[in-house]
Amino acid sequence: MEYRDLVIIGAGPAGLAAAISAYEQGIRDILILERENFLGGILNQCVHNGFGLHTFHEELTGPEYASRYIDKLSDLKIEYMLETMVIDISEMRNVIAINEKRGVMEIQAGAIILAMGCRERPRGALNIPGSRPSGIYSAGTAQKFVNLDGYLPGREIVILGSGDIGLIMARRLTLEGVNVKMVLEILPYSSGLKRNIVQCLDDYDIPLKLSHTVTKIHGSERIEGVTVSQVDEDLMPIPGTETYVSCDALLLSVGLIPENELSRKANVTINPKTQGPIVNERLETSRPGIFACGNVLHVHDLVDYVSEEAALAGKNAADFIKNVSSEGLEVEIFAGDGVRYTVPNKVNPINVEKYLPVRFRVTKVFSQATVLVEFDNLPVHKKKKTIMTPGEMEQVFLPKSWFTERPFLRKITVRIEGDENA
């Protein structure tokens, strides 16, 4: 069995930024394990632009954003293994991985950073009645076919779900000559970014049908069409609104789920709201020395925030390896009214440097509402927001001084107050 100071699982944007950050904190014995045969993860198939505005102040495509980190990684000569699958990790940070060249490897890690990313929700999660023909893909699979493999998923396409990947694919396929007939969204609003609705749908006159869903799939070998129905406020199909739409492919863009099979094997506690690990301010999970960042922790809408979060995980993993102690009591952070979840879920005030970033998502669309942060039920911060939607991650920054002024702090709550308007 070999020993490594730091093992990072996944070489997507989170894994890369975490490795570089740990290196910059003085850790040299780093190993990144990646199951694909390239670095950069999902960014490789995200050929569209719009990445990096926060980090680099310019608009990059996915591969360009990834290369900024990949180039740095090779300058620093940080070690990685491709086509290597991690099959088990233990509470005690013992990692079992496998690849073609070396067979089964057992590695004892000083610290582990979980950076496995997320997965798309599949058809099985939706309960759509009808047959099981071919031609039904998740939007990300279609993206891989078109951008990495050079195949089109179909010629006449319906997209169910208005998540960003679905919107991006509506444009991408239209530009390749595919007839994208419509995008259906069961909710009365889209979870996609406004920019994508305008530049991917409006620009090409692709209809976005809100409060509509697929209620039946037709076809035996290959999909031939779908039944589309309008839904009521309870998201139930309204009888009599059914229309038949022919298509040879159906793409699903209905949400992402953090990929935590390995985390569960290490007995890491999972937050049912995010499907990602419960973490403290160091992004450390319930198991000491196991950290998490990026989409495995909670689904992000901007890669810039993934890189920032991963850098923090890398730094904290380095501190753990160097045995920087952190005494003191942990304070719980609660998601109050209107807040679906927060990351982190706990904070040890001693470890807060200049400020603690708390990221969260709201439960529904709020306009002219106030973000309220309470320390032991007393308001310490109020910020009015013109608009907040579940599709866009929000954040508040809690300065160190707020913690030093309140040594007996027990509980932090983030909640939304005021006028709501869906």
């Binding site: 951008n147 990495l148 991408r172 013109t386």
Partner: protein, 122 residues
């Protein structure tokens, strides 16, 4: 006189519904915006809407089957389809370095399609 145009502002999640109309003298009147970003956006969208085009094209003898590309500057929105037609049946030979010009001066715009990643020879 040009007909009035409806737009959705893309600068923030508000997504203000903007209406742009034109006076006889050609002046632009924008309504519906809640901040100056919306006003600027509306003017640009009706005067000279532009977009970056991104795509991917097959590679011959490459380590990867496809190479991702983009325009090195924005092109007029109305030329998007013409620019995409240039990519029809297009193939490039490996090796390719990020930044390499794939097609020069597309549709007479002076804008180039460039590679956004490197692909080594197989």
């Amino acid at each position: 006189m040009r007909e009035s145009q409806k737009l959705t502002c893309i600068n923030c999640p508000m997504g203000c519904e903007l209406e742009v109309s034109f006076t006889d003298s050609g002046e632009i009147i924008v309504s519906g915006y809640k901040c100056l970003k919306g006003l600027d956006y509306a003017k640009k969208e009706v005067m000279n809407p532009t977009r970056t085009i991104t795509s991917s094209v097959p590679v011959v003898d490459g380590e990867m089957a496809m190479v991702s590309i983009r325009t090195d500057r924005d092109v007029p929105k109305k030329l998007i389809r013409d620019c995409m037609m240039l990519l029809k049946d297009m193939k490039v030979n490996a090796p390719i370095s990020a930044g390499d010009i794939i097609i020069e001066n597309i549709c007479g715009t002076g804008v180039n399609f460039i590679a956004t990643r490197s692909v080594r020879k197989k």
